[in-house]
């Protein structure tokens, strides 16, 4: 793993960047945590393995990090998609960051479990960006990754197969677990609003109470605000302390975007965004 260290060290010593955001091991071998290296010697702690779950793009829009000046960030393919989307949405400028892409060999669903076909994260199974599309330098080598069953897709199909009433009941129960800690929002690289709509009090569109009604609206609007934007890193679901299967929403929305508009979020930084553009031929079967 000298590669990442060499690259990161070079970036820091040459002064090309003021900080490198990467991963360090924490606790046991099956856990990492994000780390911001500001001194060349800090990068010695950097690791790249199958437990680098965090999407570090989330740090790029944070005021505490942007204060640091130009930063480099280690990005898996999915993370690089988030960076692309952030550039599309004017949150960062390509020239202000340095993306250290990694040839990704998949990650686990969560920390503290073995990396194998059972525990591989769903997003890695059919990944088409194991080599990030957007990167300034690239480290690591691709290796075979375990194949596994895409359980989340299966769950989505399962939900789709239910009738409307069952679907409502299912989501009502899931959303009812929500405690409004907003970890999903904070962990999302694309939730960068200065003030979330749920915190807006004039008017309060979404009730901040963790009641059925407030939870339903919140989860619905969160999914809608990410429609055509979510790049599928699944950090929201991992961050949720109540185990609400948020990817069922986000992924479904991405599937709709693909079906309806052949749109993939975070693949082209110059492309028009899904919401914000239109086509004269957009489907209007449902409009009388």
């Amino acid at each position: 793993m000298d590669d990442i260290k060499t690259v990161a060290k070079e970036l820091l010593t040459s002064g090309k960047v003021n900080a490198v955001i990467g991963y360090i091991r924490y606790g046991n071998d099956k856990r990492t945590k994000p780390f911001i290296a500001q001194k060349p010697e800090d990068v010695d702690k950097f690791v790249i393995n199958n437990f680098i779950l965090n999407n570090l793009a989330v740090y790029l829009t944070r005021k505490e990090v942007s204060k640091l000046g130009k930063v480099a960030v280690i990005a898996k393919g999915c993370d690089a998609k988030a960076i692309t989307a952030l550039i599309q949405e004017n949150q960062i400028k390509k020239e202000d960051i340095h993306v250290i892409g990694i040839n990704c060999n998949g990650v686990t669903k969560d920390f503290d479990i073995d990396f194998n076909s059972e525990n591989i994260a769903g997003k890695c199974l059919n990944c088409d960006v194991r080599t990030p599309k957007l990167c300034d330098s690239l480290v690591g080598a691709l290796a075979d990754i375990p194949s596994g069953e895409d359980l989340k897709l299966k769950m989505i199909r399962g939900v789709e197969a239910k009738n409307a009433e069952e679907r409502w009941d299912y989501f009502e129960d899931e959303f009812n677990k929500c405690i409004k800690c907003y970890a999903c929002r904070q962990a999302c690289p694309l939730c960068y609003c200065e003030q979330c709509i749920v915190d807006k009090s004039i008017p309060r569109w979404i009730e901040s109470s963790a009641t059925k009604r407030g939870n339903f609206s919140w989860n619905l609007i969160r999914a809608f605000h990410l429609a055509g934007r979510c790049i599928g890193c699944n950090e929201c679901e991992r961050a949720c302390p109540m185990d609400i299967p948020l990817s069922l929403l986000n992924r479904k929305m991405a599937m709709i975007a693909k079906d309806e508009f052949n749109y993939d979020a975070g693949t082209d930084m110059n492309a028009p965004t899904l919401v914000g553009s239109y086509d004269l031929k957009d489907n209007e079967d449902f409009i009388e």
Binding site: K162, S217, A227, G276, L280, I287, E288
Partner: protein, 148 residues
């Protein structure tokens, strides 16, 4: 034909230039329609945010009607195109979440389509009436019942 107790409750979000004016035309033409719809006038369908629809359901609407200018006719050139794209995503999301699709109706009604306005309102009112109260939403609102 008219229902005294004003149920179901239907909220309509309409644009000022087409549907609102179309409804005016229905009035000038003295076309009768069912009285359940309460219209909220907006400048353009582009102004209609999905949260409006959610809020209307939260506040007890049994149905929501959204209507504006036909594609190409937008007073603001493209507001309805942007709106249409949002609605595509939104109505699919609602459907996925199990919100009964038939409680949300999208339509294009131009300023000259007083008759179509009446038809849309009547058909939708009948549909919602047949469905009865929006039980699912009532259920999540019901938590609210005063227990003091």
């Amino acid at each position: 034909m008219e229902n005294k107790n004003q149920d179901p409750k239907i909220v309509a979000f309409v644009c000022n230039w087409c549907t609102y004016t179309g409804a005016d035309l229905a009035g000038t033409s003295r076309l009768k329609y069912q009285p359940n719809v309460r219209m909220i006038k907006l400048p353009c369908t582009g102004r209609i945010d999905p949260v409006f629809i959610i809020k209307a359901f939260e506040k007890g609407a049994d149905g929501v009607l959204v209507s504006g200018c036909h594609p190409g006719d937008c007073h603001y050139n493209a507001g309805n195109y942007h709106a249409r794209r949002r609605w595509i995503m939104f109505h699919k999301l609602l459907d996925y979440l199990g919100i009964d699709e038939s409680r949300l109706h999208f339509s294009w009604v131009s300023a000259s389509e007083g008759k179509k306005f009446v038809d849309v309102v009547n058909a939708f009112t009948n549909k919602v009436k047949a469905k009865g109260p929006f039980k699912k939403y009532e259920n999540i609102n019901k938590e609210f019942v005063i227990n003091g």
